[in-house]
């Protein structure tokens, strides 16, 4: 199972490279670095959803707060069967459902509009709060970037999540240490993120964001945590899988050229 997931993650990385090259603009490093998490989440049986009934009432809500990661979300949704894979190449083009930053309900699986950072977490808190009020069993998973933690709204939302003891909320932070202007610790120091989240009364789990088994275990632990929300901090390599992109902040908001696409796809094929 884990081997299958690793293989799928590589395929999704290749899809992301193709989508971004075709689009000509977008973000490479985050989507590639988080491909393992997204693969595990949707294809590793970690959340409840119905492909043939995307707005099924009892589905778990996956909120992408860091909207610029959307290429990998679109790729995994297509892989899961929410829409045809052929649609992926329409990313960012006129008339496409796959907007450069996601728009709520525009395509199956897209729960919220995101782009301005920090907005998804508040909406995730709202969903979890509503579920709790109505004793619903579905859970909310909110995916965020580490640079996104600079936004004040994020910490307002964390205070609120802790106040209402939203144990049905799992926040996932991609700790890849880069943002547009460089290393997160240079732009706006964030460490220790784990200590900060613990102080905000979260159940904090730090894992290797490329390890499928760790991801599955952390998600399971979140489900059996009561009285507080869980934060899973994924340590990841930005640009993972494409050697010349890995750990280089330049690739945060840049896409491959045609020549770079060929190199990247060749590397990903070997994995």
């Amino acid at each position: 199972m884990t081997d299958d997931l690793i293989e799928i993650a590589s395929l999704l990385r290749a899809e992301v490279v193709k989508m971004l090259t075709m689009a000509g603009t977008g973000h490479s490093a985050g989507p590639l670095g988080s491909a393992d998490f997204w693969t595990a989440l949707y294809l590793g049986n970690l959340i409840n959803y119905r492909v043939d009934e995307p707005w099924w009432e009892e589905r778990d809500r996956v909120v992408l707060s860091a909207g610029h990661y959307c290429p990998i979300l679109y790729a995994v949704l297509a892989e899961t069967g929410f829409f045809p894979k052929t649609e992926l190449t329409t990313l960012r083009q006129l008339g496409s459902r796959l907007q450069g930053h996601p728009v709520a309900k525009m395509s199956p699986g897209i729960e919220t509009s995101s782009g301005p950072l920090g907005q998804g977490i508040s909406q995730a808190v709202g969903m979890a709060l509503a579920a709790k009020l109505d004793n619903k069993k579905w859970r909310v998973i909110c995916f965020m970037g580490d640079g996104e933690q600079d936004e004040g709204q994020v910490w307002e939302a964390y205070l609120c999540a802790a106040k209402y003891a939203l144990s049905n909320l799992t926040v996932v932070v991609d700790r890849n240490n880069i943002q547009i202007d460089g290393q997160t610790e240079d732009v706006m120091p964030l460490d220790s993120l784990a200590a900060k989240l613990s102080a905000f009364n979260f159940n904090v789990i730090e894992i290797d964001g490329h390890n499928m088994a760790d991801i599955a275990e952390a998600m399971e632990r979140a489900k059996v945590t009561f009285e507080k929300p869980t934060a899973i901090i994924l340590t990841t390599t930005p640009g993972k899988g494409v050697s010349f992109m890995e750990n280089n902040p330049v690739w945060h908001g840049k896409v491959p050229s045609r020549a770079e696409e060929i190199l990247a796809l060749a590397e990903l094929k070997k994995q």
Binding site: T112, G126, L133
Partner: protein
């Protein structure tokens, strides 16, 4: 003459003064009774916004968000996405003042069914000074796609409007002022979102007003009666603007004054000017804040100083005629 179909109070010289926020607070409790999905969120201004009434009636459906307006707007959007009907409460200077981006993306772009209640707009926070007096909120909200913008004229209409927006599917911004002001409408006064109301029929000039300025416009019309026949229209929905009613009235009178407790830029006056500029160019004057901030003072003093009174409306009408 006063439009009999609007069932306004019988004698405009003997009106009672009540606060719009009280009408809202009572309306919200009623909305909560009618629809179990209605919830209220507040950012540490529960009594001031009169959401304390809802909190007392439905403690489980009242959510204290603390002083975090940005998060409050997002939480409301998330709740709306699951089928709740959230009412977001604060002062207009903070919401939509501080959380406009959350209103724009989390609420409007997604079409989430959130009701934003901007209290204490205009000079209401008088003594608190300019930073608490909001004269830019109609402009900020009117520009957002998918958002409906309503401004009740008085206590009674605020109550009725609260029930109307609770039933209406889609994001709505409702603006209110704080002080007790003249109540001109009655339980019998009709109300339809998007349908402007001709409160007074006239032929010489049309005054388009919103909020408490509707009373000022009616008072101005009474004072001028005999000399100048003023039509007064309550534009309680600034967006979508009731173009038909506006154009019909202006075709008749050919002269226009707008009156609002808001900047003359981007608000009701702006909306009317945009419409008339394209469809029926007409000489007009705008009564409102003249591109400036407020300052400390009693609301009544400030209205005089800033020229948002019956007298200011009369002066502008006379200038046009």
């Amino acid at each position: 003459m006063i439009n009999p179909e609007m069932f306004l109070v019988n004698d405009l010289t003997k009106v009672v003064k009540m606060a719009m926020r009280d009408g809202y607070g009572e309306g919200l409790v009623e909305a909560g009774k009618r629809n179990p999905e209605v919830v209220a969120l507040c950012a540490d201004l529960t009594d001031s916004t009169r959401t304390d009434l809802f909190k007392a009636a439905f403690p489980d459906r009242f959510l204290e968000m603390g002083i975090s307006e940005q998060n409050m707007m997002g939480v409301a959007a998330g709740m709306a996405a699951t089928g709740k009907v959230p009412f977001v409460n604060s002062f207009a200077c903070f919401s939509p003042g501080r959380n406009w981006e959350q209103l724009r993306i989390s609420v409007c772009l997604s079409g989430n069914n959130v009701k934003i209640i901007g209290g204490h707009a205009g000079v209401g926070n008088g003594a608190d000074g300019g930073n608490q007096q909001m004269f830019e909120d109609i402009a900020l909200t009117r520009v957002l796609p998918n958002l409906t913008v309503v401004i009740p004229a008085d206590y009674q209409q605020a109550k009725k409007m609260t029930l109307a927006i609770a039933d209406y599917h889609g994001p709505v911004y409702m603006r209110m002022t704080k002080p007790k002001r003249e109540v001109v409408t009655t339980g019998g006064t009709p109300l339809t979102i998007g349908k402007a109301q001709i409160f007074r029929l006239g032929k010489d000039v049309t005054v388009f007003a919103c909020g408490a300025m509707v009373y000022e416009a009616l008072a101005a019309a009474e004072e001028l009666a005999g000399d100048i026949d003023v039509e007064v229209i309550n534009v309680h929905t600034v967006k979508p603007l009731d173009k038909e009613t506006v154009l019909k009235s202006v075709s008749k009178t050919g002269k226009v004054v707008t009156a609002e407790e808001h900047s003359i830029i981007g608000g009701l006056g702006g909306a009317i000017a945009e419409l008339l500029g394209e469809e029926l160019p007409t000489k007009m004057r705008r009564v409102g804040m003249k591109d400036r901030f407020g300052e400390s003072g009693e609301p009544t003093e400030l209205l005089v100083k800033f020229g948002m009174t019956k007298e200011a409306i009369i002066a502008q009408i006379k200038e046009l005629i």
